[in-house]
Amino acid sequence: MTVTEPNMIELQGVSKEFGNFLALRPTDLNVRKGEFLTLLGPSGSGKSTLLNMISGAFAASSGRIMLNGTDITNAPPRKRGIGMVFQNYALMPHMTAFENVAYPLKVRGVSKADIREKVTDALKRVGLAGFEHRKPKQLSGGQQQRVGIARCIVYSPSIIMMDEPLGALDKNLREQMQDEIKTLHREIGTTFIYVTHDQEEALNMSDRICLMNNGSIVQLGTPDDLYFRPVNKFAAQFIGESNLFSGKFEADGRLKLSSGDGLALPANAGIAVGQSCQVMLRPERVKAVVAGDAPVSASTQSASGRVANVSFIGSMTSLAVELTDGTLIKLKLTSLPLQSRYKVGDAIELRWDAEDLVVLREEA
């Protein structure tokens, strides 16, 4: 990631209170020019509050919001020149697709000929050429949201914000539109701020993800950072699946678990001896040992146990294994047909690499 890219949005100590409720703690956040940033978090995490303050739906309780170097903290929405795509589309029901997309241009006093050209172009770009004269009610959910996107790109706003734009669509369509939006971002190069509570959507689409919880930022980083290097338990559990172990770090470089033997921590863990901490291991990094497997390397750890539960969920089969010391561990294997799949009660030997253990920070 290049550091020289200027910031499109800078939030400086921005917070929001509703009465006594602190919806957003004082937050700093920089959004780089041209990047696709996703605000990810459960409902009530403050992600929509953040978005709404950037869009100007309501005023920040404290702090400053800079857009492209200009202070817009107290500017009304119409003066910000931002584009927004809404979850429920927010299309004007009394206007055709064409009129909806033409609206922001009419507001800007663009000439009729230019409007026709730009609107036609925008609708073509979202794959809706020929739907100009349909009213929103005559369009499917996906088509309506495409109109919503066309209405946004047609006036080339400095940033485009999307507030759970695919939330009302079914799964297949959602995945298809994710790719369309990604492609669109690549083509037009505008800064995107995307809000979702769907972690897969965030991982798939974003340059960077800003994970939020309880009104503050938990972790800001690339999808890889968030998946492979979550900073705390919340991040580890919100994104992907995880095995969590907690215990005390001992002088031999092992984590003494509250139950059972202990796990060796990677060399760079940087934890003081005697300190208690939590570590995470992704289930798909755990392997089941099969006869004839390569010999154990220095950082490889192993444990044996019995299969306690099997869930066949298509391409993957997830197992819950009870180790001999009583610890439960989850793992994910590529699915095999029933006769060769593990069954409850089967003995199993597991292996993982100590480098795959991620030390988690205490939550604030």
């Binding site: 309501f58 005023a59 500017a75 009304p76 929405p77």
Partner: protein, 270 residues
Amino acid sequence: MTAHIRDGRKVAYRWIGTVLAIGVYIFLLAPSVIVIPVSFGSQYELSFPPRQYSLDLYRIFFSSDSWMQPLFLSLRVALMTTFISTVIAVPAAYAIVRFSFIGKKLLMALIMSPLVIPSVVFALGVYLYFSYLRLTGTTTGLVIAHTMFVLPYALVIISAGIQKLDPNLEFGAMLMGAGRFRMMMTVVLPQLYPSIGAGALFAFLISFDEVVISWFLAGPTTTTLSVKMFSAIQWEISPVIAAVSTILTAISLVVCLVNVMLQKKTDTPA
């Protein structure tokens, strides 16, 4: 709300809108309110604000037969109308909400017609018809005509109440062996009291305030309060009318508050 960004242009429009709205509120309320101080004035002159306050006008109203007889007639007619129209409207509303039957739309249009037909036309029709039946100038005639007149209002309010009930409860009661009548009495009615109460209250006020039909049907012994008031305003602007008006406004206020409470209930979905 301070949560919104201050937009000078928006604030200005809001301000203009509020000022205009206050103007209209005053225009709407003025006639209902102005009669109150006047009613506490003197019996010899009609002035606003009154030079001295007294209860003279109320004393005159309550002690003169020419006002008391119409008052009691109106009360009698309104109470009977309320009772009969409610008894008719509850099962009818139930049938309309829960059943489909041949000619339902046509019948609905007929029952609702007093809402649309000018009351003068309805009054004339009833007058001609009742003249033929020799019912003009009788209390019975007034009650029958009023019952038809208020029925659509009662029906609309009670139907709205039934629409909010869960039909599965009724279906369940009948599965358990209750006949339709028992089901109606034990399942539907107990849930429906607020709507029935509101419908009855509205029916009472509409009958009590009704002028045009009563004006056509009234005879020498069947002058309702509204008819008496109508001719009194036409022929002599007596200050006593202010006292009557204040009493009517007080009743309207009660009905209005019930109406507000009813709207609040429907605003917040369960």
